[in-house]
Symmetry: C2
Subunit: 111 residues, 2 copies
C-alpha cells in the first residue's frame, strides 16, 4: 500500500489481487467508469454515469471499490480529483484481462 | 433459461451477462473450481477444493453461483452429477476473457 502522490491509499502493483479486480469489474456502473477511463484520465467531475439518478455518495463508493482493488488511481489535482485506469500495471499483472473485459463490455453481453 | 438435458436451470448462451460471469469468477474458491473444469468435465464428487474444511453446503452454493452465471453446467449423470465449464459458449460471448482469467489465476496475482 502506498500513498505517494495521493492522499488516498492505493495498493501497490504487487498487492493487486485477481479476485478483487474481478469483483470490482463485476458491476455495470463500475465497468462504465473503467470504460471511460480506458480512453484516458478524467477529472472526477467529468466522469458521468449513464444513469443520471446515481447519487454522489454512490458514485464515491464505486470509485472507492475500484481504487481499493487497484483498478483506478484517484489523486488530488488542483481543487478536484483526477481518475485514471491503472492499465499498464493491470496488463503486466493479468495479461489480456482488462482488454478482454473492455471488449466484452462494448459487446452484446452487457446490460 | 433452459432445462433441457438437466434438472437444474441454466441460462442460455444469449442470457449470460458479463457482470454475473465476472462476479462468479471473483471468488478464489469458485475460480479454483473453474480451473479444475478447464481441464475437462468432472463428477461433482471428484471436484475438490484446496481447503478441505469447506462444508458441503458451501461447495453446493459455489456451484450454484457458477451455474446461475452461466459459467458451468451441472447435469445429472447416473447417481451423481457431472460438472463442465461452458468454455465454448463463454469464448463466443466474451472472447479471450476466460483464457485471461485462467492465465491470471495460474499466475502470481492470486491468493
Amino acid at each position: 500500500m502506498t500513498t505517494t502522490n495521493s492522499d488516498l491509499p492505493h495498493p501497490d502493483e504487487a498487492e493487486i489481487t485477481l479476485d478483487a479486480v474481478l469483483f470490482a469489474l463485476s458491476d455495470p456502473a463500475r465497468l462504465e467508469i473503467v470504460a471511460q477511463l480506458a480512453e484516458g484520465p478524467l477529472e472526477m467531475a467529468r466522469c458521468h454515469l449513464g444513469d443520471p439518478e446515481v447519487p454522489k455518495s454512490t458514485k464515491s463508493h464505486l470509485m472507492k471499490v475500484l481504487r481499493e482493488a487497484g483498478v483506478i488511481r484517484n489523486v488530488a489535482q488542483g481543487r478536484g480529483r483526477l481518475l485514471s485506469l491503472r492499465r499498464d500495471e493491470l496488463d503486466r499483472r493479468f495479461p489480456g484481462l482488462i482488454g478482454a473485459v473492455l471488449a466484452a463490455q462494448a459487446g452484446p453481453g452487457t446490460g
